[in-house]
């Protein structure tokens, strides 16, 4: 059995995590039954899906830690630590097979598994963490005293900028900056001549980057093996299960509009004012006003419209009608039409792009001249109030929404907006602009049905 670590510990720390946290370096040569194959995978998938939901609702790290702990305990934990470990490893490798097959799936699986690893790592005690770091063969230099002396002022300065007080006892790791991209991106570490100086409390980021990189490579390899031989060899046994498992969760991605009929251009103004979420209303409005949008704005709105059911020919007509007023029809055809067709998967490598989810939109950063991103995040209070006013929101609802915004619960603010403008409650909470649209249409459709005279 090639499990990386098999320490026996009484994992009674109540955190719900297994005493050992495997790194999934190589597939185990375990024997297990076909029923376990499916069941274990589904249980793990529940955990991953819960993580996905938690992240898209913008839960803070402490909340995520609790979530992971509970989910793990509920779905994966067994009284016997060895059995938990076995299930952990088997389920991971089964899901690798399931999610290695498409790029979007690989990306999702990689993100969720890394998140799962991150929070489980955080829940481990210091000794266990150190042990894992050694396993990952981190030949990282602990910062020596001499070098520490030369840069300690900067280390303190960096620590203070993230509200952390370091003291002479704090251990620092000196690593190439490439290994801690998240810390560099958020300016949470001091860097000098290409090295980042990572304090002990930030080491999670480092470990996760390595974990992620290893799993990413493994997924690519698994994909090749699957296509080359396994898929064929296993077509009567495992392959059908793998297919079925691939369809289980993931949540609708709205790339192929199903229930709502295709929308036509003549309806679009009406639909924009009744059923578009604020981010798309804003982009739509600016497009009408300026007859132009910058690239990210075109992507965000364009893919949304695709998800809403706007056909390619109509999309081209729509964008041409607007852009030609600013840049002329000829320039539109030359410079912009290509990328619209690209979005619909008709050019280049023919990927059918999926409309952006709230999480993606919230995380984007608009700059000068941009109108994309999440208005609840980026608009000033004054502008946001004005925009919501135009939607017909006022009074008490407005205050509730602004309160959510101040606390950075952007999706909840959007949900409240939906409730205020439709006069109904939205149980599920908004995490995708197309979901907002679909829910809105559902509401109006049922309202219309009710007002029809019965036979």
């Amino acid at each position: 059995m090639e499990i990386v670590r098999s320490q026996r510990r009484n994992g009674s720390d109540g955190s719900g995590s297994a005493a050992s946290l495997p790194l999934y370096k190589s597939a185990p040569s375990l024997e297990f039954r076909l029923e376990e194959f499916g069941q274990y995978a589904i249980d793990r998938l529940r955990v991953l899906q819960a993580i996905s939901d938690g992240l898209s609702r913008g839960k803070k790290p402490e909340e995520m830690e609790n979530l992971v702990s509970e989910q793990w305990r509920a779905n994966m934990k067994h009284q016997d630590a060895d059995k938990t470990l076995r299930k952990d490893i088997i389920s991971h490798f089964v899901l690798r097979l399931v999610y290695c097959r498409e790029e979007e799936m690989r990306r999702w699986f990689l993100s969720m598994e890394t998140a799962l690893f991150r929070y489980r790592f955080r829940l481990q005690n210091a000794e266990a963490q150190k042990s894992i770091m050694n396993e990952l063969q981190l030949q990282y230099n602990v910062l020596g005293n001499a070098e520490y002396e030369t840069i300690k002022d900067k280390l303190t300065e960096a620590a203070r900028s993230v509200n952390f007080t370091s003291n002479p006892e704090t251990v620092f790791y000196k690593v190439p900056f490439e290994d801690v991209p998240e810390l560099v991106a958020s300016r949470r570490v001091f860097i000098l001549k290409g090295f980042a100086f990572v304090p002990r409390n930030q080491v999670v980021s480092l470990v996760c980057t390595i974990f992620r990189s290893n799993i990413s490579k493994a997924l690519a390899l698994t994909n090749r093996k699957w296509r080359a031989m396994i898929q064929d060899q296993e077509k009567d046994r495992i392959a059908p299960m793998v297919e079925a498992l691939g369809n289980v969760y993931l949540g609708p991605d709205y790339s192929k509009p199903k229930d709502c009929a295709e929308i036509s251009l003549k309806d679009i103004n009406q639909l924009a004012s009744t059923s578009f979420p604020l981010c798309m209303r804003h982009l739509f409005g600016k497009l009408r006003e300026d007859h132009h949008l910058k690239h990210q704005g075109r992507m965000q709105l364009g893919l949304f419209l695709k998800g809403v059911g706007l056909k390619l020919e109509d999309a081209l007509a729509f964008w041409r009608a607007e852009f030609s007023q600013k840049v002329g029809a000829e320039r539109f055809d030359k410079e912009y039409a290509y990328s619209i067709r690209h979005n619909y998967g008709k050019e280049g490598k023919r990927t059918d792009y999926t409309p952006y989810s709230c999480q993606k939109i919230i995380m984007s950063t608009p700059s000068t001249g941009d109108h994309h991103g999440c208005p609840y995040r980026h608009f000033s209070e004054e502008n946001l109030r004005a925009a919501l006013n135009k939607m017909g929101v006022g009074g008490r609802a407005m205050d509730d929404i602004m309160d959510k915004v101040r606390n950075r619960h952007y999706q909840l603010a959007c949900t409240l907006t939906f409730e205020a403008t439709h006069g109904t409650s939205c149980e599920t909470g908004i995490n995708h602009p197309n979901q907002y649209f679909v829910e809105s249409r559902k509401f109006f459709e049922s309202k219309n049905k009710q007002s029809q005279p019965t036979a």
Binding site: P181, A185, G194, S367, P375, H378, S380
Partner: protein
């Protein structure tokens, strides 16, 4: 030919002169430019990164796997040709001279020759190396400059670009440890930066993203009021940028842009202060008073107001106005195509020449040589029978700068790296043969 050129000679003091060559005149000029001026050998040496020699460690396919793209203007149309590639300098020269592109872009180095990409499965054609690049446009600062807007620039607002070069160049060298950095004037309203260390060329998309975000301080689109927010003490990088560059540059900016003399201009600054009482107190006292900036600083620094968000207000104001505004997407992508140095900008006729970051304060965009000017000089030299006439034109200084400050140190490093990599490989082979 001479007479036409007399008529179209550019007045070097004006950037947006309507004497810029267009249409067939531009094509004629480009033909001469590509015939006599464009530095093919230097560009090849740069992009080959040492793989152009006879050393057994050289990869002779390397240069040929680089993507170039050409923009070619004909009478009515503009054609864009991607995935151009060349085996060596000579092929590149022939192709450029034949096609006479109005713009040449440089893309990434791929796994295989871009011209042969269709022969490989989708997964076989990927970018594997690409310089770390930055693109800064002065039109992104339109909300804080009052002398120009859009594509225009003058000596009053160009300092914003100088600031950007200083802040970013220092960080790239000091913080990230890069040393082979090329800054290029983009020909009209901005600058490009090419970081060419091998470590930089091998960065993944995620790592480029991280670096872009490290520099991303000015955030928020058209509808947010406050684009810079500091919640606590500044990270060492920001503190250094502020102390060494931004603080003093802002003082100069206050005066050249007369920020506190016009109500709508200082009103914008007041909007960045998150305390109504401070704002109204200042607005009252400022009726007809011109030491406003000193007054503002004093009030915010005195600490008498304890409102949250005031502690870093001065820095926030300074950063909002002067901190570099990058086009983040350019830096994040691995296959984003960026204009090549030494191109002619079709809108201004100016050559995209390198800028020495150590002397960036001396750079004057209004006196950058234009293609018309160069051709004029060429003719003048020829008529007096001078030899090596290209080297006696205004472009010579730029080519010299490119070579001495950038190319030569880079090639030396590349050759060393190739040598070391090769020796290591040989040693490993030897080792594996030992019992």
């Amino acid at each position: 030919m001479t007479k036409e050129k007399e008529e179209h000679r550019e007045d070097p003091m004006q950037i947006d002169s309507n004497r810029v060559p267009t249409g067939s005149l531009l094509t004629d000029y480009l033909r001469i430019y590509y015939g006599k001026f464009f530095p093919y050998t230097d560009m090849f040496k740069w992009l080959a990164y040492g793989n152009d020699g006879k050393h057994p460690g050289c990869d002779s396919s390397y240069f040929g796997r680089r993507e170039f793209s050409f923009t070619i203007k004909s009478d009515r149309d503009e054609i864009y040709l991607r995935f151009q590639s060349f085996f060596n300098a000579s092929e590149m020269e022939t192709s450029i001279k034949a096609k006479c592109p109005t713009k040449i872009d440089i893309g990434a180095v791929y796994t295989v020759d871009p011209a042969k990409r269709h022969a490989y499965a989708q997964s076989g054609f990927n970018p594997i190396e690409r310089e770390l690049v930055f693109d800064i446009d002065i039109s992104d600062y339109d909300d804080v400059r009052y002398c120009c807007s859009g594509a225009d620039t003058c000596l009053n607002c160009w300092p914003l670009m100088t600031i950007a070069i200083k802040v970013i160049d220092t960080a790239l060298r000091e913080d990230f440890g890069f040393s082979h950095i090329l800054w290029v004037y983009s020909g009209r309203r901005g600058v490009h930066c090419w970081v060419c260390d091998s470590r930089a060329r091998r960065l993944s998309k995620e790592q480029r993203s991280a670096i872009a975000d490290y520099f991303h301080v000015y955030k928020g689109g058209e509808n947010s009021l406050k684009k810079v927010t500091f919640s606590g003490p500044l990270h060492p990088f920001l503190a250094r940028a502020y102390t060494d560059v931004l603080k003093n540059e802002f003082e100069k900016w206050v005066s050249t842009q007369k920020l506190f003399e016009h109500e709508e201009r200082f009103h914008k600054i007041l909007q960045l202060i998150p305390d109504e009482s401070v704002v109204s107190e200042l607005a009252e006292k400022w009726q007809g008073n011109s030491v406003r900036w000193e007054h503002l600083k004093h009030m915010l620094q005195s600490g008498s107001k304890k409102t949250q968000g005031l502690r870093r207000c001065i820095e926030e104001i300074v950063f909002s106005y002067t901190y570099p505004r990058l086009d983040i997407q350019v830096t994040k992508g691995m296959n984003h195509l960026l204009k090549a140095p030494f191109c002619v900008h079709p809108g201004t006729g100016r050559i995209c020449i390198p800028i020495d970051p150590k002397k960036c304060e001396e750079f004057d965009p209004t006196s950058v040589p234009t293609v018309a000017q160069l051709i004029e000089e060429l003719n003048a030299n020829a008529s007096i029978g001078a030899d090596n006439y290209v080297e006696k034109t205004s472009l010579a200084a730029s080519v010299h700068l490119f070579r001495t400050c950038f190319l030569e140190p880079l090639i030396k490093t590349c050759k060393d790296e190739l040598e070391n990599a090769y020796n290591t490989k040989i040693q490993q082979t030897k080792d594996s043969l030992n019992w």
